[in-house]
């Protein structure tokens, strides 16, 4: 073994040791892949979204001279051709709906109605097939028709094609650059599954007042599905954590009482269920989770990687440190509005405060925005290597 394979193994070990709350040779550092990369290329966002090969070629050019351990993020998280084939109402992409250099948009609606709760709870998967998919995707609106059948074939084929391409690209980056992916698979908190996609924000906030028992029962019904979805999308891998973007659990979207009653119990069950299968959760705590740190500390040791976005980092270190790997340290806003020197100062401060006894991964605190500056990203990686040796 040598070259890039050896480099991959060194970085994988560095990341793995940190996730186990140990002290590796260096603080692992994460490259935040995102739409900002396209700003420094000669292709449009539309080309990057639609053509995975073009986007990959651009990213290759950015990666080749950088030293980091782990990559987080994606440009092609959503592959528009699949959504076009089924006539998706949820996502709008540049090309059909926007100019070529615009970002994608999510259009939230109540695709599940209040009167659907009982049927959904009784048989979630069948309800999704018979009700949700035809409502979300225009081409499925007449099930069994020529258009619906063709669209279903194309949608499923597109799903397989894009998953296969994504896996190929990850393997290529591992082999050519020694890069470790931050995780495998995806899951969510049941309340977010219900509130983001099914009922929508307005719907679920009304439900908390008008039909709280239905919300609780629906979240319970989703628990085994979010465990199964996490494992299936991980293809059985348990060496890397399962991505969990957390939205409506951030303070103060819910009151403390609502969080305790509706958000945490079923999210905790999903995490514990995955951990029982050997799968750690990438607890992507977007926003501020400071008031909930003591509750989160109830989880089994090492069962999550806790991502610090707006959460009080020092309190997170005090409450979770030593039992759970902490991830973050650099605010995403600083990568857009700061200077390289400010970013380097921030990295030094984060390492001084959070990395001392291991169990820490230096990264941007959330999803890095499209207007982030390349020089700031490079400053973050350089400073992590400069200050991150144990």
């Amino acid at each position: 073994m040598g070259g890039k394979e050896q480099l991959f193994q060194e970085r994988f070990k560095r990341y793995s040791v940190a996730m186990e709350c140990g002290k590796p040779d260096k603080v692992p550092v994460v490259f935040p892949l995102g739409e900002w990369v396209i700003k420094y290329s000669d292709i449009t966002l539309q080309e990057a979204y639609y053509d995975v090969d073009k986007a990959t070629a651009v990213i290759d050019g950015v990666l080749k001279d950088l030293d980091f351990d782990v990559m987080f993020g994606s440009i092609n998280l959503w592959w528009p051709p699949m959504f076009d084939a089924v006539g998706c109402r949820q996502y709008k992409f540049p090309g059909i709906y926007f100019e070529a250099d615009a970002g994608f948009q999510y259009v939230e609606e109540e695709f599940m109605k209040a009167e659907d709760y009982d049927d959904f709870i009784a048989n979630p998967t069948q309800w999704l097939v018979e009700n949700y998919l035809p409502r979300v995707n225009e081409e499925f609106s007449e099930p069994g028709s020529y258009r619906a059948t063709v669209a279903l074939i194309k949608g499923a084929a597109g799903f397989a094609m894009h998953n296969g391409k994504t896996a190929q690209v990850a393997q290529k980056w591992s082999q050519e650059f020694g890069i470790v992916p931050y995780g495998t698979g995806m899951t969510k908190a049941p309340f977010d599954t219900l509130g983001d996609s099914l009922r929508g924000t307005r719907g679920i906030l009304l439900d908390l007042r008008r039909r709280p028992d239905k919300v609780a029962a629906a979240c319970e019904a989703i628990v085994p599905h979010n465990i199964a979805f996490g494992m299936i999308t991980s293809a059985g891998d348990t060496s890397l954590p399962c991505f969990a973007p957390l939205h409506k659990g951030a303070y103060p979207f819910l009151s403390l009482e609502q969080w305790d009653k509706f958000y945490w119990p079923t999210w905790k069950k999903v995490i514990e269920g995955l951990w029982a299968l050997g799968k750690r959760v990438f607890f992507f705590a977007e926003g501020d989770w400071t008031p909930y740190l003591e509750r989160i500390a109830q989880l089994p040791d090492k069962s999550i990687v806790f991502c610090i976005d707006l959460t009080d980092a020092q309190k997170a270190k005090k409450v979770l440190g030593g039992r759970f790997c902490l991830y973050g340290g650099v605010p995403t806003t600083l990568l857009t509005y700061g200077t390289p020197q400010e970013v380097k100062d921030c990295v030094k401060r984060a390492i001084d405060e959070l990395a001392g006894d291991g169990g820490f991964v230096l990264a941007a605190g959330g999803v890095v925005m499209g207007d982030a500056k390349r020089e700031n990203i490079e400053a973050m990686l350089e400073a992590a290597r400069q200050y991150g040796a144990y």
Binding site: A156, D196, P224, N226
Partner: protein, 57 residues
């Protein structure tokens, strides 16, 4: 087979049409059941991931 089709069942998490339902419809298999089951389960899991993908954004 159509007359044997199981109409009402609640698939457990991770499945759409579990093998046990399909097996009930097929009855005794002439060849190696395990080979058929393994590949059935893989495609069923793929379909499950496609269905739930739409609510896991």
């Amino acid at each position: 087979m159509a007359e044997n089709k199981v109409q009402a069942f609640v698939p457990e998490a991770g499945t759409c049409v579990p093998w046990k339902v399909k097996k009930e419809e097929l009855g005794q298999l002439a060849g190696n059941e395990e080979i058929v089951k393994q590949e059935w389960d893989k495609l069923d899991a793929f379909a499950y991931a496609f269905i739930w993908f739409w609510v896991q954004r």
